[in-house]
Amino acid sequence: MSQIQWMIGLIPDAVLSWAYWAIIVVGITGVLAGWLGKWIPFYGNYVKVLQPVGIVLLVLGVWLRGGYDVEMAWRDKVAKLEEQVKIAEQKSQETNTVIQEKVVEKTKVIKGKTEYITQYIDKEVIKNQEIIKYIENCPVPKEIINIHNQAVDMNKAAEGPKK
């Protein structure tokens, strides 16, 4: 069935539309001719053929025309949806750019601030006489350092055994 649809798809839409209308018109003509033919002398023999052929053509034409309209309606929907998807992808890309810039900027500021505080400790805090005295006399106890370092690794407990 898909092959037939594909082959029909090769024919221009306008030609198809005209062809389907033509089948309907021929069908109606056949039905009317069959109906009127009964009263026309010497024409009665054709009635037996014209009427069924007309009915078949009329039904076929209406079916094809209906299918054509449905096809056009779906194509319209697909085109609208494609347009919406295109806009959504563009918006998505723009959003990504905004988020990327925002995160990069935040990270830059945080790194800068960290660097500034570290430098401040090296340049200013370390010169403070009270702190110099404190550093000379009171190194951080090993136990405190161990607890700090254990806290640094606390996420490893949540990771579980490696597989």
């Binding site: 069935m1 898909s2 649809q5 299918g67 449905v70 779906w74 929907k77 697909v78 949806l81 494609e82 919406q84 998807v85 959504a88 992808e89 918006k91 998505s92 890309q93 959003t95 990504n96 750019t97 988020i99 990327q100 925002k102 995160v103 990069v104 935040k106 990270t107 945080i110 790194k111 601030k113 960290t114 505080i117 570290t118 400790i121 090296d122 805090v125 370390i126 702190i131 404190y134 550093i135 009171c138 190194p139 951080v140 090993k142 405190i144 350092i145 700090h148 370092n149 640094v152 690794d153």
Partner: protein, 87 residues
């Protein structure tokens, strides 16, 4: 029976999938980067200022990571809104 099969064949011939696919959105590169591991205080005899610097750097790393998490949440909410706008 053959009329039923024929009718079904004709009716089902209209059942085709719409050829429209929405691409899964990309993620900004900044969000894919992993968060750094926190720093440890190294050495046996450590000055309080050295320890303070490590603590400051760890705070910095936490906030860098938090910025990424905020970014992920914003990315998800925005992409969901955009995705749902296509109907």
């Amino acid at each position: 029976m053959k009329y039923i099969i024929l009718s079904l064949a004709i009716l089902l011939s209209a059942c085709t999938t719409a050829p429209v696919k929405q691409k899964f959105p990309d993620v900004p590169k900044a969000l894919i980067e992993k968060c750094d591991s926190l720093k440890k205080v190294e050495g046996d005899r450590v000055a309080i200022t050295e320890m303070l610097k490590v603590v400051v750097q760890n705070y910095g790393m936490y906030y860098e990571c938090a910025a990424k998490v905020d970014g992920w949440q914003e990315w998800y909410n925005d992409q969901k809104r955009i995705y749902e706008s296509v109907k």
